[in-house]
């Protein structure tokens, strides 16, 4: 049984018709394969898909990013890496099954793979805690990231989580500290790390593993500071305003590329990643290959520096800044123009006063 999103009702009707036509034996009456009709409906379906999917709103993308059948981290790990061995445990408390971590091989190159896994059916979803990691999970990642750093092995992480798990035990064992340490560890690695956001990039739970040299996003993935539902219920005081919240937060891949937070977007097949999982694999392979090659040319120190500069640059305005590439300074120095501009912006009253003064002086000069 396929599952459809609320905006796919037309597509659902067409696909059901198509399935019926392709399977004449289960139909009533005369059994005959009507090839012409199949072609016609297939065309109509393609048209409809294109129509719906060429202009998705941010909220629709959010639904797509959470789609039940969307390929999960496990799918990519199984299909992209050979010799993957899943390692477990933080050596302190437990093993968090919401994240898969292990060494593997990508095209003859050793890599550490981290994947936040949501699970495919109800049982596995419960086992994986719906992809919501606990402190143990982050500590497991830290342990293995440090190991990868030691052996000079690049790290590839697949991000797909609604957020870090909010629970009593998680808080008691230091959820906040675990996330902070995970970011700290990611930011101090001297091996390349690449994060691929495949579904939901939920706030702190995502950035803990996405503080990386390269951040790649799927076309219909989302990455934001809070879920649209959360934002809507806090700012609009109405959890149903998700459409507005998603738009306001600008959480789609294209928005993030425009803000220069992510580096690359991987195109999804028409109708979302779940409609053709295998078509995606080639695209990801290409992207990982390209990025690994680009980063492998840097020395260990340069990799650290690359990451530092990348993050320092985020959110800074272009132009009017000097020393943006200075390696040991973290702050920006602004020049005189931006200072004056700011002062005028802050004291808007200055403008009319200045104009009035100028007019007065010119009048006086005229009468003299």
């Amino acid at each position: 049984m396929k599952s459809y999103l609320e905006f796919e009702s037309d597509i659902k009707v067409l696909e059901e018709q198509l399935d019926k036509l392709k399977d004449p034996f289960n139909n009533e009456g005369l059994a005959e394969v009507n090839t012409e009709k199949i072609y016609q409906i297939q065309n109509e379906l393609d048209q409809k898909l294109k129509e719906v999917y060429s202009n998705l709103s941010r909220w629709q993308r959010t639904l797509l990013a959470r789609h039940e059948e969307r390929p999960r981290a496990k799918f990519f790990i199984n299909n992209l890496f050979s010799n993957f061995i899943n390692l477990s445990g933080d050596r302190q408390f437990a093993d968090d099954k919401a994240v898969l971590v292990g060494f593997g091989v990508f095209e003859d190159q050793s890599v550490l793979v981290i994947g936040q896994e949501k699970g495919d059916d109800l049982d596995s979803r419960i086992e994986r805690n719906f992809g919501m990691m606990r402190p143990e999970g982050y500590r497991k990642c830290i342990r293995l990231m440090q190991l990868a750093d030691k052996f000079n092995i690049p790290i590839i992480s697949f991000i797909d989580t609604p957020g870090a798990y909010p629970g009593i035990g998680a808080e008691e064992r230091g959820q906040a500290e675990a996330i902070a340490r995970s970011i700290e560890c990611s930011m101090s690695l001297k091996v390349p790390n690449i994060a691929i956001i495949i579904g939901e990039g939920g706030s702190g739970g995502a950035i803990a593993l996405a503080s990386s040299n390269k951040i790649i996003m799927f076309e219909n993935a989302i990455y934001s500071v809070i879920s649209p539902e959360g934002c809507a219920s806090i700012l609009w005081r109405d959890p149903k305003k998700t459409l507005e919240a998603a738009d306001a937060m600008k959480l789609s891949a294209q928005d993030l590329l425009d803000q220069k937070i992510i580096d690359e977007i991987i195109k999804e097949p028409l109708g979302g990643a779940h409609r053709d999982k295998n078509a995606l694999l080639n695209e990801i392979k290409k992207s990982i290959r390209k990025n690994l090659k680009e980063l492998s040319e840097l020395s260990r120190e340069d990799i650290l520096d690359h990451r530092k500069q990348k993050f320092l640059f985020i959110g800074r305005k272009k132009g009017l800044i000097k020393d943006i590439n200075s390696k040991d300074k973290m702050t920006i120095e602004e020049n005189i123009f931006s200072n004056i501009k700011q002062k005028i912006n802050k004291n808007k009253i200055v403008i009319p006063i200045a104009v009035a003064l100028a007019v007065l002086i010119s009048l006086i000069l005229l009468y003299l």
């Binding site: 950035i207 809070i226 959480l251 985020i314």
Partner: protein
């Protein structure tokens, strides 16, 4: 005296007199315990309610004033990235919220950095103001934090930060989220330079702030009864569907679970942090050096006399 002078005159006077609209104008204030407190008493008591010991949220300037030697501090100018990068509008425009917050707090953004002395040692201090959109962190706050860290590194001073925030600023969405990585990056630089980094977690420190720079201080100190945690209380209750234990996520609770080093009341913060810094920087001998200097002078005098 008749009733006109007794009742109507003062009545008219109060009617005609301009009522102080702002809280600043009045001499009295109140606290969570709903008791009236004379403002000066509160100020003298480090903004801790003299009746119920609640540590009230305070502004950055007040924080610097009560924490640094002789109440002297110098505010550092921090860079200001573009306001409202996403043109965010909810029920209100973000830019309007910013303007209102700036007017209310007289700050550019939630974080302020100051330099000053603590027990005679130069320190760089940062603080967050909860009145500025819940102390939330956006680009400007992140930039201020990084600037403060850079100042501490350039001047080789310990960096002390008073966190007070609900988390990242939703109105800057992903840009705000990236501040978690950016600030941690700055903390890494502090640690690389072997500069003591002390965080004082004040009420409340939750969300993205606790999950980034606040929880990776060299030494973590909390003010009594401060709320410290990652997820909000309501979120946890909704997720697990049960009520939470008493005192959950308070400073004392976190300390019992090994999350932080100390719980110190505001009055003793100066002494505790001062002592910690002198020990960490191995400046224990300041008094004895003075003593030896005096001895040397004595010696000189003796030598002079002898010659």
């Amino acid at each position: 005296m008749n009733w006109i002078t007794k009742f109507i005159k003062p009545g008219l006077k109060t009617l005609l007199k301009r009522q102080p609209k702002t809280e600043e104008g009045s001499l009295w204030t109140t606290c969570n315990c709903q008791q009236l407190i004379y403002k000066e008493d509160l100020h003298k008591n480090f903004f801790v309610c003299p009746k119920c010991e609640t540590h009230q949220k305070i502004s950055c300037r007040d924080r610097f004033k009560i924490f640094l030697d002789n109440n002297e501090y110098e505010i550092l100018k921090t860079p200001s990235p573009p306001d409202d990068p996403l043109n965010f509008v909810d029920t209100k425009k973000y830019i309007d919220r910013l303007t209102a917050a700036r007017k209310l707090t007289k700050q550019d953004d939630a974080i302020m950095i100051a330099s000053g002395k603590l027990k005679g040692i130069n320190v760089t201090v940062g603080a967050q103001n909860f009145s500025f959109i819940g102390g939330s962190v956006g680009s400007a706050s992140g930039e201020a934090f990084i600037c403060g860290v850079q100042y501490a590194i350039d001047n080789q001073t310990p960096f002390i930060f008073f966190s007070c925030s609900g988390g990242q600023r939703m109105m800057e969405s992903s840009l705000a989220l990236q501040q978690m990585a950016r600030t941690v990056l700055a903390v890494n630089e502090l640690k690389k330079n072997n500069i003591p980094y002390i965080v004082v977690l004040t009420n409340p420190t939750t969300g993205g702030v606790s999950a980034s720079w606040a929880m990776i201080g060299d030494i973590l100190i909390a003010e009594p009864k401060a709320t410290i945690g990652f997820a909000g209380r309501r979120v946890i209750e909704q997720t697990i569907g049960e009520t939470l234990p008493d005192g959950f996520q308070t400073a004392e609770y976190i300390k019992d679970h090994g999350g932080i080093d100390l719980v110190v009341s505001r009055k003793e913060l100066r002494d505790t942090i001062g002592t910690l810094i002198t020990v960490l920087l191995k400046k224990n001998k300041t008094t004895s050096i003075e003593a030896t200097n005096e001895n040397q002078e004595d010696l000189k005098q003796i030598v002079e006399v002898a010659s």
